[in-house]
Symmetry: C2
């Protein structure tokens, strides 16, 4: 089913066939087609589609198209669409709408949905609560496997997954049972015998990245979420957890490249000014702080006035120091994100990085020292550059590994402190080492 | 259940209680405990555990511990463990073992397992085949929902997931049906009516990252894999797809930080020399190429001999250019990885980046020009730095966005060409612009 075919059916007003054709598409593909249509076509196709399919496709649209459609919707239409969506998707959508719209939509929803949405909207943005859904299959202890299937059939229509069911007694989570376990048991078995009563769970206030990492570590399809009193409030499913991990990696990459408040949308749907706004702040800060390195150089003006060759090694020293620091900080940022490294490992990490730095520094110093000696036949110059390299690399790696860990310990985002910031600090250090060694060795 | 408790049971030789206690743990937690034990304790606990639990925990161990255990295993033990593991996990494990061990193990496996493992081992390392499993639930067309449940019970023990079943006729995939659909249908319904016959599928030779992105885009729990003749050969499940995306993000971050052939293990389990080996190659290349920038500077020796202040702006220009290039390349690398940007978008991207660069360049030039004018009361110097900044930023962003796309088009990994490499090229460009403008404006 191609978009062209779809548009032809639309032109021919073959609405029944269009509705059928749309029904056969994956929601993600349908959403892509809708994005490519003009607003009139889009609304027409959307209104022709079955309510549940329309709502599913709606959840896959990019932010721009979605905002356009919401503006064109009547309140009744918007409420109907939201009620067809999974509760967690609906809550995510409401979060991006203006308060007045949210109020109108919630006012029109049925009381149960309204209460659930209100509760979801109140969880902090980075918490487990913000990515969980209250719609899961709930079983009672003391019932049989056959009863469980009846419960799945009754609750399954709305549940986010029917494959992991939770045994809940007076709102307390007492067990977990997979549909696989149920399918492989006999109908008359008691749930209590089939279920696993050692249930790993998370708090509703836990960080969503922690939850996603735990799910990844355990290989879970769903993770139950309890509130501070231990009452079961919902589940996080694997697709949402995977979304968190992918989004987190993207943000880390962007932050490490000095992009502040990375754009929420994809590259193309973010405007030129929005792109510029997200890139200017760090560039400004880093540009002005690099003038500090410049001032250090000015301080040694007499040194390079006497020996201008010194200037030509500045780029090499700056780049190498920066690259070494970045290697360490990138490993830290990623290790922290995946939970492999914790802030309290700082001494262990520093010891390891120091040894790596020595090996790396000696190899690089040997290579460069040899090159300089061969090019300039000046042993003292070769020694100056080699010693500076080793010292700069050790310092760069120590700063590069400890800064992200310290920043994380302070409760801030380690990726923010990464690459460019470290480059600036390391630059200042290596230039200082370089010129003080040079003035001393060459008596300048 | 704490590790201490477990060790106490081991000391007390309460093996039955230990076996029970281990049975209640998650495989991931059990693996972590095994990693912390010494080799003798580890083997003892492993041998005490139920076969299937032991195999599951084994799949979660880190590479070091796993190699240690494999060395200590008898051939019979190794074969038994591998046969208990999911086929795709077993194949991954065999791939890391020496050829002689693989041969011995395969020789001892039953013929069916051997054939499946051999086939899995033959798929290229980055293909869908390398992450798929041939163990899925297969239904026949013309049977009923009740028959499907019987099939799930029969095949479910070995299948990677029982929640997505595939309808296969003469090895050709004709439909897909979820356990949810089956549970919500009546037992006498025909599979053909319940199933979806528009099945999205991938080729066994497709890149595993493509498959993972498609699954993420569609929100699929499993993706069917067919061979070049259209025969169904297996499925990729969401946990493996998520693993690919996470691993890919980690590799991209490391490559962008100039770490060649990123270590396969976690930070701590990689040794100092292995870390050094993965960091030295790019540092060496970049260090030597930075001397090129140094040569450009030497060429303009007379300029900064006459006006030494010029040298102090070198760090600021180099850092800003590098940062601007990195911002663009990071967006490209990530956009390419997530499938949001394609190599053929290069002109569209370049046009967008050029406009972003102009906005960014003008803001930064204004800020820095003003600062320099206020500090030095030298309009010409302020103008020189401002014009250099705008030009350097435009060039940096154009190189930063186009290089990753060109490299991808050439079939290479865009992340390899990212940050540090771009920094080096951009450095050379900005220094050249800077000094040629300076000599011209100041008549040096």
């Amino acid at each position: 089913m191609e978009k062209e075919q779809m548009l032809r059916l639309l032109e021919q007003k073959s609405y029944r066939r269009l509705r059928e054709a749309a029904g056969e598409l994956q929601p993600a593909d349908l959403a892509e087609m809708l994005e490519d249509m003009d607003e009139k076509q889009r609304l027409l196709v959307f209104r022709l589609m079955k309510k549940d399919q329309a709502a599913e496709a709606f959840a896959y649209l990019d932010n721009d198209t979605r905002s356009d459609m919401i503006e064109a919707f009547s309140d009744a239409e918007l409420t109907a669409t939201l009620e067809q969506m999974a509760l967690d998707d609906a809550a995510d959508l409401l979060e991006e709408m203006p308060a007045s719209v949210v109020k109108r939509v919630l006012g029109r929803s049925d009381p149960e949905t309204r209460e659930s949405l209100n509760r979801l909207l109140n969880y902090p943005a980075d918490s487990a609560g913000s990515i969980m859904t209250p719609e899961y299959v709930r079983l009672r202890p003391g019932t049989t496997v056959a009863d469980a299937f009846t419960a799945i059939r009754r609750q399954g229509e709305n549940a986010e997954t029917v494959y992991i069911c939770y045994v809940v007694e007076r709102n307390r989570l007492t067990g977990v049972v997979t549909a696989r376990d149920l399918l492989l048991s006999s109908p008359e078995d008691l749930i209590d015998e089939v279920m696993d009563d050692h249930v790993i769970r998370v708090q509703v206030t836990d960080d969503k990245e922690f939850v996603a990492n735990e799910m990844n570590r355990y290989g879970f399809m769903a993770m139950p979420v309890v509130d501070s009193e231990g009452f079961m409030v919902g589940i996080v499913t694997l697709d949402d957890a995977a979304g968190v991990l992918i989004e987190e990696a993207t943000e880390d990459i962007q932050k490490m490249a000095a992009i502040a408040a990375p754009p929420e949308d994809s590259y193309f749907s973010t405007g030129v000014l929005a792109h510029a706004r997200s890139r200017i702040p760090w560039l400004l800060i880093l540009m002005l702080s690099a003038t500090f390195t410049g001032m250090i150089i000015t301080y040694y003006e007499n040194a390079f006035a006497a020996l201008p060759l010194l200037v030509s090694f500045i780029p090499m020293l700056m780049d190498t120091g920066g690259n070494c620091g970045n290697q360490s900080s990138a490993l830290m940022v990623r290790g922290l994100a995946l939970g492999e490294i914790r802030p309290r490992d700082i001494l262990r990490v520093a010891f390891k990085e120091a040894r790596v730095a020595l090996v790396v520094g000696l190899v690089l110093a040997a290579a460069n020292g040899l090159r300089i000696f061969l090019m300039y036949r000046d042993m003292r110059l070769a020694l100056l550059i080699s010693v500076t390299l080793v010292l700069a690399i050790v310092i760069a790696k120590l700063i590069g590994c400890s800064l992200p860990l310290l920043v994380q310990k302070a409760g801030l985002d380690p990726a923010l402190m990464a690459s460019p910031f470290i480059t600036t600090i390391v630059d200042a250090c290596s230039i200082t080492i370089y010129f003080s060694l040079a003035t001393w060795m060459f008596g300048l």
